[in-house]
Symmetry: C2
Subunit: 308 residues, 2 copies
């Protein structure tokens, strides 16, 4: 039976393209009966990358059983396919914290504290002396560009600085030019519904027994978010009620100057102020200077406050 | 601050020697401030290996804080150092199921469904083109021999079949001769207290909300265990009461003919019979023909019954 390979819910570019690259790696290893799928439609940024390299979006699945699965770019069950508890997990490749995850059987698990999942998959190709096709190299580069904001995010490691130029060369792209075009394609706020802004890249985290939903949206001008703040917060409140979250945090990140603003509904205001040593202003905005990474700069300090 | 590297509680030969080999790997990577330690004294088999290769046993620790840690040959917190929740886990290398484990930060995690942790560490040396010193090669070979019963256990994979002869060559040992001598050194039941037989290699597992303790002892003649069965079962009952286990299972394994007998105290008799499709006889012995691996042949079917 086909083994399904997929990234997290609300797939971003690294999640979606690392499913494609890990599937190709598995095929070159000799595991031909694998299929890259996704837990959601590509976002605008990912669509730009797929179009540019003339690649198809993987089909979207709702459930995985009875197939075995391989997870890329995530491990936490609340971020995975709905029936993850019912399927056999054969492999994981990821660069996030490891939590809310367990298996009955030993598995292949390759986790590294690096900037993107595609960088780890690049290492796998390299260790086995496999060849990366040009189209795939472009998609892998897109995943790395997305996760590291073109090597500017503090999540960037030496691995990305080495790997991304190599992939760009294989793909035949100008890194700066292509990268900025791709990132900007994902920031067109006018084309996004309130729900997409709020939920498009949101993930759930369990902290101190509470369910914290954290969304992030990239922009080139934070005023575009401020202009829609009331509608955005209403949508966050609706999602919080509907799904029983304790807190819903949205981070709006200016990718050009690497600053963010935080908004919150539900509980958690006090915890956020403590975590970031700041105050929400009279408009309900928390300045997060220098913050661009949810994984590295938002989740750890917030978790420390909730569980401290 | 020194990063501590250690295997699971009740260290077996693979747990103890993989701490040594992963520490050497880290040093060759450039992380010189690491120390291999252990969560217990070496058993008779491991002592034989350490003596043979003129190596010192790592010092035993009770707590790890405030040091960072790297785990080898285990990941589950109940099998790790007592204050594992309080320390930062930098890396894990393991070949077991992944469960009861979580981190706040991304980490290096290398898990593979193979026969021993030392085989994975061999791959790490190989990928980096690092050199394995002869003494360390002997210790790594000992870990693989122990975990795979000299390549006869069903946990053995092609990786061990490839790696073990290479290590034996570096170490300058005759694999069959050394391997059998080492395994037999661990089976001298006359020299083992009842408590060592019961607890010497025991691990705790959570299954369906219950705490199941599973010990294993290797022998060359099962009659040596039968002759002490009453005292052994009394010791199991004492340990169960003292530690609040729901069930205590002991597997006695004949390493020469690859068969086992199971004994149980507390609850779990029915679950065991169902898991192994057999019956405890009038002496309280459950025949487990062909069963030699707790990890591969005992835990998964038992967990399926408890959680099925």
């Amino acid at each position: 039976m086909t083994t399904l390979i997929f990234g997290h819910q609300n797939p971003d570019t690294d999640a979606l393209t690392s499913a494609l690259s890990f599937a190709e790696y598995q095929r070159q290893l000799g595991n031909t009966d694998v299929e890259a799928v996704a837990l959601g439609e590509p976002n605008d940024e990912t669509k730009f990358a797929l179009n540019y390299f003339k690649a198809q979006a993987p089909r979207v699945i709702e459930k995985a059983a009875p197939n075995d699965v391989m997870l890329v770019d995530h491990n936490e069950f609340p971020q995975s396919v709905s029936d993850i508890e019912d399927v056999r997990i054969r492999a994981v490749v990821d660069h996030h914290r490891l939590a809310n995850f367990h298996t009955t059987y030993p598995l292949y698990y390759r986790g590294e504290p690096v900037g993107s999942t595609n960088s780890i998959i690049f290492e796998l190709f390299e260790e086995n002396e496999f060849t990366i096709p040009a189209q795939l190299a472009g998609l892998m580069a897109s995943g790395i560009i997305s996760d590291t904001l073109l090597l500017k995010s503090p999540t960037t490691t030496d691995l990305e600085r080495r790997v991304l130029p190599e992939l760009a060369k294989i793909a035949g792209i100008d890194l700066e030019e292509y990268g900025l075009a791709m990132l900007k394609a994902g920031t067109n706020l006018a084309a996004k519904s309130d729900l997409t802004i709020v939920e498009g890249d949101a993930k759930s985290f369990t902290m101190g027994g509470k369910t914290i939903r954290i969304g992030q949206v990239n922009v080139v001008d934070l005023n575009e978010v401020y202009a829609r703040q009331a509608a955005i917060e209403q949508t966050m409140t609706d999602e919080l009620s509907k799904n029983g979250y304790d807190s819903f945090l949205l981070i709006a990140t200016n990718i050009l100057d690497s600053d963010s603003t935080g908004f919150v509904v539900g509980s958690g205001k006090e915890e956020l102020e403590k975590a970031f040593n700041g105050k929400f202003d009279e408009n309900g905005r928390l300045a997060l200077p220098g913050v661009v990474s949810r994984k590295k700069q938002v989740v750890p300090p917030l978790q420390a406050v909730y569980e401290g």
